[in-house]
Amino acid sequence: MAAAAAPAAAGGQASGSAGLRGWLRSAYRFATDRNDFRRNLLVNLGLFAAGVWVARNLTDIDLMAPQPVP
């Protein structure tokens, strides 16, 4: 019984890692498929959020401030 359980556990681990590999593979395909509308929407949503963050945090610049003295 213990001898039968070991290959079953090894098979389960193999199928688990194959499942994880398969998930990673499909996630990579999704992230690199430029023709996928949902992927492009997610990427551009992220860019929009990053653009809003930049606008709110990095744009308070005084262009006419004097140059710093070295």
């Binding site: 551009n44 860019l47 929009f48 744009t59 308070d60 610049i61």
Partner: protein
């Protein structure tokens, strides 16, 4: 000492905070769009001549590097009824190019809160667009009905209805319904819209069956303005993102045009709308998801009534570059 347990003196009724008119539906994203530079190519000469307080003409010569060169003539007439520095009624605008294509608009104020607009566009001798708008502007709401290309004989029409309501002094909600009809087909699309205006930023969102359009405008200080835009079209299965900024340096004769007056400001003289010059001082920059970067630099050249504009745009993905400059006189 008085009767501290007695009923308090009746208070004067509190006046509700005025909500303000939400403006037009087409102008929801205007502040963000004005930050982005307009693409320039070739050489353009624009001469504005004000003939009287009611009449202005503009000549535009465009030497293009991408297509045929052209000449455009624009005439603008404004009436006596002035509502704001940028609104006067009636307004008649006519624009014609060297091939005979015409673009004409008539705006008129029928009543205190009711205004109408008619737009005609022709491509040489053939009418391409004929459109009629009616707009009602209330104290805290705006309703618009547009009839696009009505054709009784062909039984086709495009009907657009807009409604905007100020919920608070900062929040505006509304919607748009577009109905189109042609022989054999008809359909309607509903879009919901919302706009939140804070002291230094404005966020706007349109969501509907056809897609979504989100924009964020931020005024960092007197010199820097930033705009971020996202558009998603479910019909074309396409999304785009754009980031633009604008730098304003009045000390260097880079003057911002088209800035709306504050509520309660003193009456300002009416200013001619410029049909050709983008109402933003330079420099302005752009970066978008189509791998395009670009910028436009505008500078006044005092004491001459001349403005020089330089622009360049590069599309990394398609390996295309074009630049141009324009001289605006008057």
């Amino acid at each position: 000492m008085g009767n501290v347990l007695g009923p308090a003196a009746p208070r004067a009724p509190r006046r509700g905070e005025p909500l303000g008119s939400p403006g037009s539906f087409d102008e929801l994203h205007r502040q963000c769009k004005e930050v982005f530079p307009q693409q320039m190519e070739g050489v353009k000469l624009i001469i504005n001549k004000t003939l009287s307080s009611h009449f202005q003409v503009t000549h535009t010569v465009h030497m293009s590097t991408l297509g045929p060169s052209s000449y455009r003539f624009n005439a603008t007439f404004v009436g006596d009824r002035q509502l704001s520095p940028t609104e006067a009624f009636p307004t008649l605008v006519g624009d014609m190019d060297n091939s005979g294509s015409l673009n004409a608009q008539v705006l008129h104020l029928l009543a205190e809160r009711l205004r109408i607009k008619a737009v005609f566009q022709t491509h040489q001798a053939k009418f391409v667009t004929w459109q009629f708008d009616g707009e009602y502007r209330g104290d805290d709401c705006t309703a618009t009905l547009t009839l696009g290309n009505p054709d009784l004989l062909g039984e086709s029409v495009i009907l657009v209805a807009h409604f905007l309501q100020s919920i608070t002094s900062r929040l505006v909600l509304g919607g748009e319904m577009v109905y189109h009809r042609r022989p054999g087909e008809e359909g309607a699309i509903l879009t919901l819209a919302g706009k939140y205006t804070a002291q230094k930023w404005v966020a706007t969102l349109n969501v509907g069956y056809g897609g979504a359009h989100a924009s964020y405008y931020h005024r960092a200080n007197e010199q820097v303005q930033v705009g971020v835009e996202l558009e998603a079209n479910t019909r074309l299965q396409d999304t785009t993102f754009a980031f633009g900024y604008q730098l304003n340096l009045p000390q260097a004769n880079m003057v911002f045009r088209g800035e709306p007056g504050a509520a309660g400001a003193t009456r300002q003289p009416w200013r001619w709308p410029d049909p050709h010059c983008a109402p933003h001082p330079t420099p302005a920059g752009l970066l978008d998801s189509n791998w395009s970067v670009g910028g436009v630099l505008e500078k006044k050249l005092p004491p001459l009534p001349v403005t020089l504009a330089l622009g360049a745009f590069l599309n990394h993905w398609k390996n295309r570059f074009h630049c141009g400059f324009s001289v605006i006189v008057g």
